[in-house]
């Protein structure tokens, strides 16, 4: 039995099933306005810069193939990475799960004698609940990414991989700063430039006086031991160069084989994620550099359920994810429910597959159903992860597990088994998609799918189906 992420630690499991949480966000008009504005803005930006690149499809193809090759050779590549990092003066730690990773990091920080660390935005440390573990040990973690800071000061949860405070508008951010930022100018307006300047002043002292930083990594090159962090604000650069000690927590799937492979991902990631040709800052470092930057470097390699994902041949490709968040920005379900409804730090389409994969599907049973299977995520993904297929696969897995446990299927399982069957059989899937489009023309927008799928869509706002399915478009090409 593969070992999944442990219960009781980290942020991969929600307190309530997706439909319950989603119903609440659907009622929040402000949230839907904020999200609608943000995702449409970013989609347009991204589409424009992707259009500039004549070889976008070839890059996606290469990205997908490099990742498949990486997963097939993961043990070998991780050992190669370890050797290279150690040779460059770093220390490598292996953490089987969130509990062990938190312990390793807490011990490392404690050993430096400091009680405050600064953090670069990192999904891996959010996943394991590192901030809570540090606080329990009497260490104050300071988030330095503006959005993470907004979330931290607002005692809130991130709701988007890339823009964690996407659910907040400028007025709400101003309120949070006025309330929580010590010494903030009370005449603060809600101009984004003014708010950003307030954060700059607030964090400068922290950057200059904190001796330990914790980061994630976007990529780690097995061949050379180089790590890369991609960011915009410069807070990442501050954390990566100013302190004495740097601790990087990285999911084991982030390794890539060679230095040259970066040429693929550094073209795919910025355009797919922020819609920029290149993000303002990318930092790369290998172990320690005498006289420049932290002289004590630790790399924590995190499993926390990833080996279980690797064991699933269909679902394995979810580990290819480079966390660009493009799939969130095109997802009609995400756009309406926002990230919190998913209950995990990984929201949206990729979260709907990755969270149940990491925790075991029984702990996140509603997430594989949190999708209309419209295929927009697959189309948007820069490394071509077939998210709809993994969703269908996980639904089938859930139904089977439920049946064997309960003898009788649940109402949800019956509905979803029908859905899974339909999705597994392409002609029926296409017919169902066309059917749901017919529903739109019949003025039944948002009224749900025809039986037997209607059991699922009752009480849920089914997104408007696209005028043409991806498969139809493809066939016509």
């Amino acid at each position: 039995m593969p070992t999944t992420a442990p219960r009781g630690v980290g942020h991969l499991r929600g307190d309530e099933p997706f439909p319950v949480a989603a119903r609440r966000s659907l009622a929040d008009a402000q949230l839907r306005r904020n999200l609608g504005h943000a995702t449409s803005t970013i989609r347009a930006k991204s589409a424009a810069v992707i259009d500039e690149v004549p070889d976008w499809q070839e890059l996606r193809e290469a990205g997908s193939a490099i990742k498949a090759d990486t997963m097939a050779r993961l043990p070998e590549l991780l050992q190669q990475l370890e050797t290279a990092v150690v040779a460059a003066g770093g220390t490598v730690h292996w953490a089987v799960d969130a509990v062990e990773a938190n312990r390793i990091v807490t011990d490392l920080v404690t050993a430096t004698g400091t009680d405050r660390v600064m953090k670069v935005k990192s999904m891996a440390t959010q996943e394991i609940g590192l901030n809570e573990a540090l606080e329990a040990a009497g260490i104050e973690p300071v988030e330095t990414d503006l959005a993470e800071l907004i979330v931290q000061l607002g005692r809130d949860k991130p709701s988007h991989i890339l823009v964690p405070a996407i659910h907040r508008n400028r007025a709400e951010i101003r309120e949070i700063f006025l309330r929580e930022m010590p010494g903030v100018d009370p005449s603060l307006t809600d101009e984004p430039a003014i708010l950003a300047a307030a954060a700059r002043r607030h964090l400068r002292r922290t950057f200059l006086s904190t001796r330990v930083a914790i980061s994630g990594a976007n990529f780690a090159v097995a061949e050379t031991g180089a790590l890369a962090v991609v960011e915009s604000e410069g807070n990442g650069r501050m954390c990566l160069t100013l302190p004495d000690t740097l601790i990087t927590v990285m999911g084991i799937e982030k390794v890539i084989p060679t230095w040259a492979d970066l040429e693929v991902f550094l073209q795919l990631l910025p355009r797919a994620s922020t819609g920029e040709r290149m993000n303002p800052y990318t930092s790369m470092w290998t172990g320690v550099t005498p006289g420049d930057g932290p002289q004590d470097f630790h790399l924590v390699l995190l499993d926390n359920g990833r080996s279980a994902v690797l064991a699933d041949e269909v679902g394995r490709q979810a580990l290819h994810c480079i966390r660009c968040s493009a799939c969130l920005n095109v997802c009609p379900v995400y756009e309406r429910t926002g990230g919190h409804a998913y209950g995990s730090v990984y929201p949206g389409p990729i979260g709907a597959v990755l969270s149940p994969q990491l925790t075991g599907v029984e702990d996140n049973a509603s997430l594989p159903y949190a999708s209309s299977l419209c295929g927009a995520c697959f189309d948007a993904c820069p490394v071509k992860i077939d998210i709809p297929s993994i969703l269908v696969h996980l639904r089938a897995e859930h139904v089977t597990a439920y049946r064997s446990e309960h003898r009788l299927p649940s109402a949800e399982a019956v509905t979803m088994a029908a859905a899974a069957y339909t999705m597994d059989h392409l002609p029926m899937y296409e017919a169902a998609q066309r059917g749901s489009r017919l529903a739109r023309f019949a003025g039944r927008r948002g009224r749900g799918l025809p039986p037997p799928l209607s059991g699922w869509t009752v009480g849920r706002d089914l997104p408007q189906p696209p005028p043409q399915t991806f498969r139809e478009w493809w066939t016509q090409r």
């Binding site: 984004p192 604000e233 160069t241 970066l262």
Partner: protein, 212 residues
């Protein structure tokens, strides 16, 4: 269940091997049909991309760099890396050579002048590799104005060209425009924690001897 003597390292590697199963996963051929390194360099593309990212671009001869620096930072305090060509600095600036200056002191400087290692035209990116004429990573981070002097022969077409030219073992900083955030309603705001002003000065090839 778990052998107590087994380290987490062995445990994880064991799980991964078991997950992959025998025979060891066959690496598929990676098709690299995308544009490789070696494309033609278009300087006007670089200038457009830099300007589009709200960096200021200056084109001049090597002898005129000092005048550009004077116009931007004349009368101010400027950090410079030890290997910076001195003729790039006008008499009007107070130069602090970084020989391990404390961060607090670097933060009080008004600007920094460095060379660069490589620039990517297609993305509007300048790359520093911490050579002697570029200095430690921190000096281009804390002051509010960064003037980066680039030779035309350091400009490459795309990302693959840049990686081919760089030494992966050096600390690398890729810079595309000034520091920016889009975290507030996705409005781009320049200058959060890094320099709020980036000036790129492009000079003809081979007119000075690059350090490092």
């Amino acid at each position: 269940m778990v052998d107590a003597t087994m380290t987490s390292r062995e445990l994880i590697l064991g799980r991964l091997r078991a997950a992959l199963g025998p025979p060891p996963g066959s690496p598929g051929e990676v098709a690299r049909d995308y544009r490789p390194a070696g494309g033609a360099v278009h300087l006007d593309v670089l200038v457009h991309r830099l300007t589009d990212y709200r960096a200021s671009v200056h084109q001049c001869s090597d002898d005129e760099v000092a005048q550009v620096v004077d116009a931007i930072l004349g009368g101010r305090r400027v950090v410079i890396p030890a290997g910076l060509p001195r003729h790039w600095l006008p008499d009007t600036v107070e130069a602090l050579t970084d020989d391990g200056l404390p961060a607090d002191e670097i933060a009080t400087a008004d600007g920094v002048v460095t060379a660069a290692a490589v620039a990517i035209a297609e993305t509007g990116t300048v790359i520093l590799d911490a050579a002697a004429d570029q200095g430690r990573r921190v000096i281009t981070l804390l002051p509010d104005v960064h003037i980066c002097v680039l030779r035309v022969d350091q400009v490459v077409a795309g990302v693959p060209d840049a990686l081919a030219r760089l030494d992966p073992r050096r600390p690398l900083t890729w810079i595309s425009g000034p520091s920016a955030t889009s975290d507030i309603e996705l409005n781009r705001v320049e200058g959060v924690h890094g320099p709020r002003n980036l000036h790129v000065v492009i000079v003809p090839r081979g007119t000075h001897h690059s350090g490092g």
